[in-house]
């Protein structure tokens, strides 16, 4: 080990050696604890430590921290070191502060004061130390304290170059925390003109700053374009000796070149000025030309630096997307890299080509390399390179090469790495759908996918194939035949059983003429898989069986026997039990006509974008895979019209979830009254998307539907309640073409109420991709009766824009915990009289909505959760209800009477309950709602 200049700290070196000599983790911890105790006592002792000692101990603490241990003292001593007049002590103080940033408010003031002093220093080394510390911490406090000094340091003529460099990057760091810090006006041009500075280091640092400023305010900084182009031009035409130490392994100023090329990618087109544009194109051509020259050195540093500039130039060419000649040249250059022996270059070339494939000018040129790319996918040793090859194949796919590319991807899938299989499956599914000219091909591809990589085929993929088969008559017979054949395999994937079950249930009749696939054969084939499947698949198969009874009456008794089987009729799985018994009854009770109507062929699905695309985007948040044509077709706006009447799944109104309604029980639980409401509501509220729609009030009467909607987002809700417990699923659908960032729903529920209704909310991911939908689960437990309902404040940012914020009321009003109660007139009136106390009654008289709708009112009351009791009130127009609210502490009985006055268009509402809060809250919830 070489001796280090400056003063070594012997105590520190001894300590580090001790730690290194520790044989076990325990020994190390013991040694560290001993040292911590020692330092603590030194710091506590009255004997004042001199600067060197302090520095040494602070440095030891730092070392201990970097080993991964927590440090909770020593900050004060470190801050003391900042004001030491010895540089080495000051430096260690700054290092400690930078690494163990502590926003302890007492200290931060002292730190800022020390930094202020050092910024005033005449010694540039001290000034830089202070600037580096500001940049390391970069907090808002720092930004506010130094917003004057640092810009001045940056542009002042007296500032030394080294200080300017630090000041530029320090300002950039603070700008990222606090964008207001940059002064506008005359400062703009002074900052831009740093691009002309003589010192290359200053220009390099300033370019990073300007790049960030341009992103925020492109128009104000537009002047930087021509300066950047001239600077770039001077660099690319320089010989490697011109720039002295800024030449890196024979490449002139690679860092600055790359930064300038990046800066120019902020504008499109970079400039209107034909002169500047010409000069820029010359630069880009020169860079491409240089790539063809023999290397000036065999060192990898030379080729890396040179190619770094080349790749950035290609990025700019792709960004401008206007010079066909440059695009094609870039493509050829990258093509050469595809067979380079450096893995890094092959990786980057594949990645860069993905972007070229999306340009109309170079798409064809990229396609020339198809064979090499396929080879890369198969032969590369490194999975990340193979992944890039897959991405590129996806991007370069079009109608002309789709069959070949899809076939190659399918072949490769059999041996592909597990880590990339799921994504490949999605890509194959998207390409096959997009470029299918013949849908029998599409069906084959998807069934092959399931066969080869069944475990990686997500729901969206097999939902989609069913949608497409249902919508395209010409392929239905073929699909039935193909799935029938596929199911013959002794071991076939459960997803295949699902698709097979669904398709044969709908279209099995199309192949029933052939004795080899006669009805009984089809049924036996499917049923042979039944016992190996999960209950969800079994449920699907039961639906297939009832459809078979309709299609093939001749096998009805066999199927009825299956429904009757103990394992179905008395299945522990409620869903199976329900299906088996309902389907059995249906097959017994219903006439052939009724059966045929109930089990009519599925109606066509509305044509829409594939939801698979959204899944793919969600999988790859940073890097949305692109295919020129697929990207261009607008991404899906959540589609609301997919309510399947057959399956009564009125709950999800988004393309990404539950397309076939398979996970919803076939019959809704005792909500017939509200079902109509839900459906009508989905249709009526989603037609108008302008402005925002907040449906909270309606949710007093129902549990499912669209809670909120505006141009950006749709929030659907699906909820269920049992006794005093409730579960609420919120579905956030992004309606825009960009992702929603910082997506945060925050629960608002006053403390005094939150002990009565305990609400728990699952966190959601902060990013909601374009067209995607996410679900959030909320659980509620009613402990005692409460007022009002919790709210949710939803905030997010669209793209880079303004924060959007709104508040919605959650449908968790106290009536959700109602259990309807049947009773006869006698007991009703007995209870009614019992609840006559002052605090047990509440009454309201309010105006009726036009037109006065008594049937509607009855539906609403049922949806409200109470039992509507007929024949109790002598006046048939009057409505009386009874119900019990379940809370953990007690059950609250509640009675209601609603009397319409048809002449006066008025309602009188009377509530009686055993608890005052309930009485008034129920009255509040219902007033003015009829």
């Amino acid at each position: 080990m070489a001796p280090v200049r400056g003063d070594g700290m012997r105590g520190l070196a001894v300590f580090i050696s001790d730690i290194r000599n520790c044989k076990s983790k325990e020994a190390e911890i013991k040694r560290i604890n001993k040292e911590l105790a020692n330092i603590r006592s030194k710091f506590r002792g009255d004997k004042t430590l001199d600067g060197y000692q302090k520095k040494k101990y602070v440095c030891k603490l730092l070392f201990i921290f970097l080993l991964g241990h927590d440090i909770d003292f020593g900050h004060m001593e470190a801050v003391n070191l900042l004001s030491s007049n010895k540089y080495s002590e000051k430096q260690i103080g700054y290092l400690f502060i930078s690494v163990l940033v502590n926003t302890n408010s007492d200290l931060i003031k002292l730190i800022i004061q020390s930094i202020k002093n050092d910024l005033q220093s005449r010694n540039p080394i001290h000034v830089n130390l202070a600037l580096q510390c500001i940049a390391n911490i970069g907090s808002r406090d720092m930004a506010e304290s130094f917003s004057n000094e640092i810009p001045k340091l940056l542009v002042s003529g007296d500032t030394m170059d080294v200080v300017k460099q630090s000041a530029a990057l320090c300002l950039l760091r603070l700008f990222r925390t606090c964008p207001e810090i940059i002064p506008g006006g005359e400062w703009t041009s002074r900052i831009i003109h740093l691009l002309n500075d003589q010192h290359m280091g200053v220009v390099t640092a300033a370019t990073s700053l300007i790049d960030a400023l341009v992103k925020k305010n492109p128009d104000e900084y537009k002047g930087c374009v021509s300066l950047a182009v001239s600077r770039l031009s001077r660099i690319v035409t320089a010989s490697y000796t011109d720039l002295q130490d800024y030449t890196y392994y024979f490449v002139p100023a690679p860092w600055l070149s790359v930064k300038l090329l990046r800066l120019l990618q902020n504008y499109n087109p970079p400039t209107e000025d034909p002169g500047v544009r010409g000069r820029l194109n010359e630069c880009l051509e020169t860079i491409l030309n240089k790539a063809q020259e023999p290397p000036k050195s065999k060192k990898v540093q030379h080729s890396n630096a040179k190619n770094a500039v080349l790749f950035e130039a290609i990025n700019l060419i792709i960004h401008n997307d206007s010079e066909a000649n440059l695009l094609v040249r870039a493509c050829n250059q990258l093509g050469q890299f595809l067979s380079n022996r450096e893995t890094n270059l092959r990786y980057l070339a594949l990645e860069s080509m993905c972007h070229l494939a999306t340009s109309e000018f170079s798409h064809e040129a990229v396609k020339k390399h198809q064979e090499v790319v396929i080879l890369s996918m198969k032969m590369e040793k490194d999975v990340s390179v193979r992944q890039q090859a897959v991405d590129l194949l996806y991007a370069m796919c079009d109608r002309s090469n789709a069959e070949e590319i899809v076939q190659e991807m399918l072949n490769y899938l059999e041996t592909a790495d597990y880590s990339i299989r799921e994504e490949m499956v999605l890509k194959v599914a998207i390409l096959a759908e997009k470029y299918a000219t013949d849908f029998t091909w599409y069906v084959d591809v998807i069934l092959n996918l399931i066969r080869i990589a069944g475990d990686y085929v997500s729901e969206e993929v097999w939902y989609r194939v069913i949608q497409i088969v249902i919508n395209r008559e010409e392929v239905q017979g073929y699909a039935a035949k193909t799935v029938f054949e596929a199911l013959q395999a002794p071991a076939c994937h459960e997803n295949m059983v699902k698709v097979g079950g669904y398709i044969l249930g709908e279209f099995g009749n199309l192949i029933a003429g052939d004795s080899r696939s006669a009805p009984m054969v089809q049924f036996k084939l499917l049923h042979s898989k039944y016992h190996l499947c999960s209950s969800m698949t079994r449920a699907l198969l039961l639906s297939t069986y009832i459809k078979f009874i309709n299609l093939f009456p001749e096998i009805r008794t066999t199927i009825q026997d299956v429904f009757r089987q103990h394992s179905n009729l008395r299945s522990a799985d409620a869903e199976l039990q329900q299906r088996a018994s309902e389907y059995l009854q249906l097959s017994i009770v219903a006439s052939a006509d009724v059966l045929a109507t109930v089990l009519e062929e599925m109606p066509s699905f509305p044509e829409r974008e594939s939801s698979i695309l959204a899944v793919l985007k969600k999988k790859k948040p940073g890097r949305v895979p692109e295919n020129a044509e697929i990207r261009d077709s607008k991404s899906p706006v959540p589609n609301q019209n997919n309510t399947q009447v057959n399956h009564t799944s009125a709950n999800n109104s988004n393309a990404t979830s539950d397309l076939l309604g398979l996970s919803t029980p076939p019959a809704l639980q005792s909500q017939q009254g509200t079902l109509i409401d839900v459906l009508s509501d989905i249709y009526s509220t989603t037609n108008g998307t302008s402005g925002s729609i907040n449906n909270a009030k309606k949710f007093v009467f129902k549990n499912n539907g669209v809670l909120f909607e505006n141009d950006l987002i749709q929030i659907g809700v699906k909820s269920e309640f049992k006794q005093n417990l409730g579960r609420l699923g919120l579905y956030y659908g992004n309606k825009t073409q960009t992702s929603l960032q910082n997506f945060t729903p925050v629960l608002q529920w006053p403390a005094e109420e939150s002990t009565k209704l305990i609400v728990q909310i699952k966190p959601v991911e902060p990013t909601l991709e374009a067209g995607a939908q996410i679900q959030q689960l909320i659980t509620a437990e009613c402990v005692d009766s409460y007022r009002d309902t919790p709210s949710l404040q939803v905030s997010f940012r669209v793209g880079g824009g303004q924060i959007q914020k709104f508040t919605i009321k959650l449908p968790l009003t106290v009536n959700k915990f109602f259990e309807p109660t049947e009773m006869n007139g006698e007991s009703f009136f007995a209870r009614w009289k019992n609840l006559g106390g002052e605090q047990q009654r509440a009454q309201r008289v309010f105006k009726a909505q036009q037109p006065l709708d008594l049937a509607g009112a009855r539906n609403k009351l049922t949806g409200f959760g109470m039992q509507l009791l007929d024949g109790i009130d002598p006046n048939p127009d009057n409505m009386v209800c009874a119900g019990i609210i379940h809370t953990q502490l007690h059950q609250v009985g509640c009675l209601l009477r609603l009397e319409p006055n048809k002449q006066a268009f008025m309602f009188r509402l009377t509530i009686r309950s055993s608890k005052e809060t309930v009485t008034s809250e129920i009255c509040e919830l219902l007033a003015d709602q009829f």
Partner: protein, 157 residues
């Protein structure tokens, strides 16, 4: 902009960490653990870049030490490799044929050198000569000092 730089040994011991974006300590430890495992499991001829969360990881091994940087999507991978190389050159020049032990025993120097090369996650000075000049100037300031405790430590006090 660079998000962070980590130096760790072949045995997976972290030798230096520099964070240019703020994370809680817990997150830092988690990220570090995850990356060290990922990178150590990669084979020598593999590509030096990998996609990781929403950033790109660029790493390179020098003798027993791995240098690993996280950069943003639109940063230049190849040039990041050369930032690493420049840093290694600087360490090498300063310590004179640097080895892992130099960085363990003089971690503070390793930080000081890095602070001259990169500020706020962006390259500040690419010239080797200029960085070394700045470090030398710091050392000169140090050598002017003769602290009392220094003598005590060496048994002279």
């Amino acid at each position: 902009m660079m998000q962070f730089m980590l130096l760790f040994s072949r045995q997976g011991k972290l030798r230096l960490q520099k964070w240019y974006v703020a994370h809680p300590d817990k997150t830092k430890k988690k990220i570090t653990r995850e990356l060290i495992t990922t990178i150590l499991s990669r084979k020598p001829k593999m590509c030096s870049f990998l996609e990781w969360k929403d950033c790109k990881i660029v790493y390179k091994r020098y003798a027993s030490l791995y240098f690993c940087c996280a950069i943003e999507q639109n940063d230049n991978e190849l040039l990041t490799l050369e930032i690493i190389h420049r840093y290694v050159e600087l360490l090498d020049k300063y310590f004179g044929s640097v080895c892992e032990l130099d960085i363990i025993f003089n971690f503070e120097k390793a930080y000081f050198i890095l602070d001259e090369l990169l500020v706020g996650g962006e390259i500040q000075e690419t010239s080797k000569k200029n960085v070394l000049k700045a470090i030398a100037a710091q050392d000169v300031l140090q050598e002017d000092e003769t602290p009392q405790g220094f003598f005590e430590d060496h048994g002279l006090g």
